[in-house]
């Protein structure tokens, strides 16, 4: 039983050049208690996926999907109200760029209190509720490593450092005891001690409270030790997904290979002073997406067939979208 199951999700957004498919047939699935990693370059649509799942997209954008379910309930056909309730009670999001994700004119405390759902408070009088909320919030602030909770809650977002903002964001995501945490680059720009602390906290919550995590990052090193599954995204297309260990050892898609190679600590055979490998070219802009496999123009193995979009192929419990996969003996 999947907790979150997304199949062939396509998101069309309006640009000055007309409608563009920012996400093209993306597949993600996540079982209860899993930590799943979603990796890809900046601009590959990772954050768009997050916003699609929680329904924080502009209303004009077109979303189509064969399947987008949460515990078997269809998210797309759900009423706005039911969906809000569901996102409030069962999911939490850690947004990329935490300082921007807080209202600049409200104190952090006010915004943290908003994240505590009413059902977590016991039925006291309404004047006792604020205290109950605060007690919960303070507990979680301590968990994420903020000791000076009073000062932090009274501060406006611009008054605290960026990493404090990130920690507060994490506290506000965790305080509602979600079943799924969608963490969009939670450790971006953090120093290493803070980063280890946060990652350890997430791993512990996953083990003790069965918290499922969709971990979005380009920090392969952090993800590699935590995640059980990995989905690789390029330009709004899922290129490969499967078990972390398998993907690491034998990537099937050339892009996965390139991504792994670009993280030097993943390569044991890298001689000193050797040039670091990278794909030639840059990620295309939304206005100039190539047809077919979007990696095509940059792919070292590209051939004529690559102008057709490869359909996802299954191999045991992993899937890949490539006409000419690596590491596969010809059957």
């Amino acid at each position: 039983m999947f907790l979150l199951d997304v199949k062939n999700l396509t998101l069309e957004i309006e640009t000055t050049n007309g409608w563009v498919k920012a996400l093209d047939k993306v597949n993600i699935s996540l079982k209860r208690g899993e930590i799943s990693a979603l990796v890809g370059e900046s601009g590959s649509g990772k954050s768009l996926i997050v916003r699609t799942i929680v329904g924080a997209l502009p209303e004009r954008w077109k979303i189509t999907a064969d399947r987008m379910t949460w515990k078997g309930q269809d998210l797309l056909s759900m009423s706005e109200k039911a969906r809000r309730k569901l996102t409030r009670d069962e999911m939490s999001v850690f947004f990329q760029n935490a300082p921007d994700a807080f209202d600049p004119t409200a104190t952090l405390g006010e915004q943290l209190r908003e994240s505590v759902p009413d059902k977590m408070l016991d039925k006291g009088f309404f004047w006792q509720r604020k205290q109950q909320r605060d007690a919960l919030i303070i507990k979680y602030l301590h968990k994420v490593g903020i000791k000076n909770h009073r000062q932090c809650m009274q501060a406006y977002p611009h008054q605290v450092a960026d990493d404090v903002c990130q920690k507060v964001m994490l506290a506000s995501a965790l305080v509602s005891k979600p079943e799924l945490l969608i963490a969009d680059d939670p450790t971006m720009g953090m120093e290493i001690t803070n980063k280890v602390q946060i990652l350890r906290l997430l791993t512990r919550l996953n083990q003790t409270q069965n918290l499922s995590i969709l971990f979005i990052s380009h920090d392969l090193l952090a993800i590699g030790n935590m995640a059980t599954d990995m989905t690789v995204l390029y330009c709004g297309q899922t290129v490969e997904s499967g078990k972390m260990a398998q993907l690491r050892n034998k990537p099937l898609h050339p892009y996965t290979q390139a991504l792994l190679n670009s993280a030097p600590s993943f390569r044991k055979d890298l001689p000193p002073k050797a040039p670091l490998s990278s794909l030639s070219g840059t990620i295309p802009t939304l206005q100039h997406l190539p047809i077919g496999c979007r990696l095509g123009p940059r792919c070292p193995r590209a051939q004529k067939e690559c102008v057709k979009t490869p359909s996802p192929k299954k191999l045991q419990n992993r899937s890949y979208s490539c006409h000419f996969p690596l590491n596969r003996s010809i059957e």
């Binding site: 809000r84 999001v93 947004f95 209202d103 908003e114 611009h158």
Partner: protein
């Protein structure tokens, strides 16, 4: 905060200084003999003339003359109107409140029209309703205020006969002067038919207020709409939505404040444009305000009055802008954002 207040005060003093310099320069730019313009006395050999030469410091150099001018201004001696023979300060005290009254009502009205429509358009960004409101505001903005005033008179006063055409109150009522704001004066006074006078004054006020307010309202709509559209696309609104708040909750808790805070200074700035429009509209509606008064002064070449009127209006605008600056800063929670260093 103290440093900020001192800086504002400094700006105030400097600006006033520049304005006095400009009005002082006017003396020499008016056609004709400078002293004759100022005093109205043309015969050069009389004892009276010598007295005036001394009074204005014309027997010394120009810096001394400016010093004398500042001294007179400071003592409240702004000269004598050459057309009516009255003290200019006294005349301004009579006409300026009428203009301010009109402007304040028009400003309030334009905010009450502009902000809700701006929000409506901004929340329905790029939908038909937004484009409709935007087109209407462009149309409203393009209509010259004097033409709009004439149209309103033509339609509501002449064709339909619903509202009076000109003036501030019917001549039947004699309202004693108290504050210069006619509604306050009526309420303060003890004339027999207060209710009638009040409704009469309000009926006189509708058309001029409307014609000034409409133009400003269209600007307010556009400013508000832009800000709403920007804020509703920002990360923290998305984050609040993802936290599970409903759209109305997100709007009232996070959208509203963030939308209004950055545009308040811009809205306040519209007051100066509005005051200019009010002065034009006064002439059309024969409203006894400073615009009308200044126009009369220009017609009859009453140079001391022009000088005094310009100075008075400038000072009002400067004081208003500075006060609003300070008020807005006090209520803004982000006031120290730029002072705190960022990495």
């Amino acid at each position: 905060m103290i440093a900020y207040l001192l800086r504002r005060l400094n700006l105030f003093v400097v600006t006033i200084f520049v304005v006095t310099l400009a009005t002082f320069a006017l003396n020499y730019l008016f056609p004709g003999d400078t002293l004759e313009n100022l005093s109205g006395i043309s015969s050069h050999q009389t004892a009276e003339y010598n007295q005036i030469v001394q009074y204005h410091g014309f027997d010394h150099n120009i810096v001394y003359q400016y010093g004398m001018y500042l001294q007179h201004l400071w003592k409240g001696d702004w000269g004598i109107s050459s057309s009516s023979g009255n003290d200019i300060v006294e005349e301004i005290k009579l006409v300026l409140p009428a203009t301010l009254e009109l402007s304040v009502y028009a400003m309030v009205l334009s905010l009450f029209i502009g902000i809700p429509f701006g929000f409506w358009a901004g929340l329905r960004h790029r939908r038909p309703i937004d484009l409709g409101i935007l087109s209407a505001s462009v149309l409203g903005y393009s209509i010259p205020v004097f033409w709009l005033a004439l149209l309103l008179i033509l339609f509501f006063a002449l064709q339909l006969g619903w509202l009076p055409m000109s003036g501030r109150i019917s001549l039947l009522y004699d309202i004693p002067h108290y504050s210069g704001f006619i509604l306050i004066d009526i309420l303060k006074s003890d004339i027999p038919n207060k209710q009638d006078a009040l409704s009469n004054a309000i009926r006189h006020m509708i058309l001029p207020t409307l014609s000034i307010a409409l133009v400003t309202a269209t600007i307010v709509i556009r400013i508000t709409r832009r800000s709403v559209a920007d804020v509703m696309q920002s990360d923290y609104i998305r984050a609040a939505l993802a936290r599970g708040l409903t759209r109305p909750q997100v709007f009232w808790r996070h959208g509203l404040r963030n939308t209004l805070l950055p545009i308040l200074p811009q809205l306040v700035l519209q007051f100066t444009t509005l005051l200019t429009n009010a002065m034009i509209v006064e002439v059309i509606f024969s409203w006894p305000g400073i615009g009308n008064w200044l126009m009369q002064a220009v017609y009859v070449q009453d140079f001391p009055a022009i000088r005094g009127g310009v100075l008075a209006v400038s000072i009002v605008v400067i004081i208003f802008t500075l006060l609003m600056d300070i008020v807005l800063r006090v209520i803004n929670p982000l006031k120290n954002r730029d002072i705190h260093g960022t990495i």
